[in-house]
């Protein structure tokens, strides 16, 4: 299933283009000379030790942060601080956060419809129909009228995914979507993400869940100290990594 | 016998003698008491207080107090007597005792020219007319008495009420001469003193705590003596009629 899907999409248009990107926080260089190209429908997993710049990179892709040098083009739109197209860009790029970031004062249904209604100006009935569809997709249609605080972490994260899906974006970014979850709930969310991966959406995912990476990633990117150290297919990544640092990292991650 | 003894030993006169100092409460009020260019207290009350202390053979200490709290402060013992141009009113008398009057100051109306053009005395007694006066001061009582229909606004001090009239927020104010005439001279286009006659209250007296016949007797006799020798009138004229002190106090 994975194979045919991937190879077909790899030949399609380039959705994310990152070239020579540097990013500074004050004097601290969080990204150095990062290059990355993601084609339509490709699934990329980013991993690396803490502080290596994974979140920074992914946040630069939808303009939550802005890079200082180099260029980032997503879905044909250049990501820049004063770009007129930033809003359009964000409507095309969904993002799922480690901390879910659901809106606690709105019900689940309202969380899903507020974007389509207020941003895309879709009628309420239509937006709700769509919301229920995607709640179905993440397997929690029955939670529509609860508030986020009443849901378990795994359910909340699934709502967060559905909220992004409701915007009908063609690109989804995930920043450690399972790391704030209890062990039992991680699988719920990973399962949903695996299903999602099969729909042909373009996906960039920061995660340490190596089982997931092995199962769905087309390519795995390993970062260290703001640089991309290695990019490889899962097979090569796990069985025959080039760099010493990656070997060490894999040792620690897979050890306990 | 014992009642008598305790009365006289409890008198404020006794404690003044013991402490060797008389504490006099007053509130700044031109020209009764003022700060001169050096920031020191001068005025009619100060002369009276110093003379009184001299005659008693004690030191004098003036305690400047805001007018609002002057009676509570006397009652709670912050000073021995109020000498602050306080006129005798029945209401006040219910709370404190008064000596005989030591001054009789006339009060005149100070009015806004444009707003009170052609007003007779009766015209002031109308709901359309607004008076301003210092809260708790004699003029406030007189205004309330003479012009019951008019609206009366009360302020913490005299300058504020004059400013009200000047700015056209009130038609008129009332206070002891020579203040109104001075103000009228300073702002001739806006202010004037419409009536020459002075309105009289019961006269100003020392105020002291209740239940102290000894002190009352002492102050009455002192005032009597000073009135007869003409000393009080001479000082009163100096501060209320004269101009000599004007350049010591900023004008």
């Amino acid at each position: 299933m994975k194979m045919n899907n991937t190879r077909a999409s790899a030949s399609l248009k380039e959705m994310i283009h990152v070239a020579h990107v540097d990013k500074f926080y004050g004097d601290f260089q969080a990204l150095s000379d990062v290059d990355l190209s993601v084609n339509q429908g490709e699934r990329i997993v980013i991993c690396g030790p803490s502080g290596s710049g994974k979140s920074t990179l992914i946040r630069c892709l939808n303009g939550l942060e802005f890079h200082d040098a180099g260029e980032i083009i997503v879905d044909g739109i250049s990501v820049e601080e004063d770009s007129k197209h930033l809003k359009t860009l964000r409507q095309e790029v969904g993002m799922v956060f480690q901390q879910f970031n659901l809106f606690p004062h709105l019900t689940i249904l309202e969380n899903l419809t507020i974007g389509p209604m207020k941003v895309r100006k879709i009628a309420k009935a239509e937006a709700e129909k769509r919301a229920r569809l995607y709640l179905e997709r993440v397997h929690i249609p029955e939670q529509a009228d609860k508030y986020p605080a009443q849901l378990s972490g795994g359910q909340q994260q699934r709502v967060a995914i559905a909220r992004s899906l409701c915007m009908e974006t063609r690109i989804m970014l995930f920043d450690e979507p399972t790391s704030a979850l209890d062990p039992e709930m991680i699988n719920e969310v990973l399962d949903v993400m695996v299903e999602l991966a099969d729909t042909g959406i373009t996906m960039v995912c920061v995660t340490h869940e190596m089982g997931f990476a092995r199962k769905v990633a087309d390519r795995i990117v390993f970062m260290e100290a703001g640089r991309i150290m290695e990019t490889a297919t899962p097979d090569k990544f796990f069985t025959n990594p080039d760099s010493e640092r990656l070997k060490l990292f894999l040792g620690q991650i897979l050890d306990h | 016998q014992s009642t008598q003894q305790s009365l006289s030993s409890g008198s404020v006169i006794e404690s003044i003698k013991q402490e060797g100092v008389i504490k006099i409460g007053l509130s700044i009020f031109r020209p009764w008491s003022m700060r001169d260019l050096n920031g020191e207290l001068v005025g009619f009350e100060l002369d009276v207080g110093r003379e009184l202390a001299k005659d008693m053979g004690v030191e004098v200490e003036f305690v400047p107090t805001s007018w609002d709290g002057i009676i509570p402060a006397l009652v709670s013992g912050k000073f021995d007597v109020i000498i602050s141009g306080m006129s005798i009113t029945p209401q006040r008398n219910l709370t404190v005792n008064f000596s005989d009057p030591y001054a009789y100051s006339g009060m005149t109306i100070l009015a806004n020219k444009a707003m009170t053009e052609g007003f007779s005395l009766e015209d002031y007694n109308s709901a359309d007319v607004t008076f301003a006066a210092r809260r708790g001061a004699t003029p406030a009582a007189v205004i309330a008495d003479m012009f019951p229909e008019a609206e009366l606004l009360l302020f913490d001090e005299d300058g504020a009420s004059t400013q009200e009239v000047l700015n056209g927020n009130a038609h008129a104010t009332m206070s002891s001469e020579p203040t109104p005439s001075e103000a009228a001279r300073r702002y001739p286009e806006t202010l004037y003193v419409p009536f020459n006659e002075a309105f009289q209250a019961g006269g100003e007296a020392f105020a002291l705590r209740k239940g102290d016949p000894d002190a009352e007797n002492f102050f009455n006799n002192w005032i009597g003596t000073k009135t007869r020798t003409g000393w009080l009138k001479e000082r009163h004229d100096y501060w209320f009629r004269g101009e000599d002190w004007k350049d010591k106090v900023a004008e």
């Binding site: 974007g115 941003v119 992004s164 | 509570p72 219910l94």
Partner: protein
């Protein structure tokens, strides 16, 4: 559930509710008695019996509110008007302060610093004697504006704190579904920050009612002015000050209780 009988200790007895109440009542009685005895020692003649007429009178015309009640009404009216204005100004200042406008932010900071470092009493004199004639404000308008502006500074800080209390993730969540800054404020941030702002806002209403007492220095009719006028008429300073204090306390306490009820309901809802 089967609970073991635990032995009584002195600490437990002291901490038990009835004993606590008894101790409390005893100490309060001591204080009140002390105050009473103190006043007695001062030789002050209490005239509490003269107070009721200032609350209400029953004459041939029927029931009439006394001066204190009228003053209270005026105080409430004054405070509410000022509070409404202060909230609007305050939101405006807070949004300016949080905005990207260079001049706007500078202006709001200058305004805040000015107001924060000025005694209200002095500010009131400035409003009434200086700005009053300039903008032809009457005393009521001047005092409402003065209170509103003064409290707008405090309220804007409440708004700012409330807005800042919303986790950054909420902004990011809103941004990542393509909302503009205005939309994020309107649909995501402000509705949530109300929860953080409600308690300090209550405090602010109470604060405003209290600071409204200051306008008595420019003779605006309200509770304290009435009280001070009554004192200058009757010289019952202590009775009147205590009564005025009690009236203020009743109002502000009722207000606090009322708002905490509302808060509870609000808390349950989300």
């Amino acid at each position: 559930m089967s609970t073991r009988a635990k032995p009584l200790t002195l600490k437990k007895v002291l901490n038990s509710v009835p004993v606590s109440f008894a101790i409390y009542a005893f100490v309060m009685w001591l204080i009140i008695y002390g105050a009473y005895a103190g006043a007695q020692a001062m030789g002050y003649n209490w005239q509490w019996y003269r107070m009721p007429q200032y609350f209400y009178t029953l004459t041939d015309d029927g029931f009439q509110l006394g001066e204190i009640m009228i003053g209270l009404g005026k105080t409430i009216q004054l405070s509410l008007t000022a509070f409404a204005l202060a909230t609007i100004f305050g939101l405006f200042i807070a949004l300016l302060r949080l905005s990207d406008l260079v001049i706007g932010r500078g202006l709001s900071i200058a305004l805040l610093e000015f107001l924060r470092n000025m005694p209200l009493l002095v500010l009131l004199y400035l409003f009434y004697y200086v700005l009053g004639p300039v903008f032809s404000l009457d005393r009521y308008t001047a005092s409402v504006l003065c209170l509103a502006v003064f409290h707008a500074a405090l309220i804007s800080e409440i708004f700012r704190a409330g807005i800042n209390a919303i986790p950054k993730g909420q902004w990011e969540g809103a941004t990542s579904i393509g909302m503009s800054k205005g939309q994020a404020y309107r649909y995501i941030i402000l509705p949530q920050s109300i929860r953080f702002m409600l308690p300090p806002m209550t405090g602010e209403v109470v604060h405003l009612i209290k600071s409204s007492a200051i306008v008595s220095v420019i003779a605006v009719a309200e509770l304290t002015t009435i009280g001070r006028n009554l004192i200058s008429d009757t010289y019952m300073s202590f009775e009147i000050w205590f009564t005025i204090a009690a009236v203020y306390m009743v109002v502000t306490l009722l207000l606090s209780i009322g708002v905490s009820q509302v808060e509870k309901r609000y808390a349950v809802q989300t």
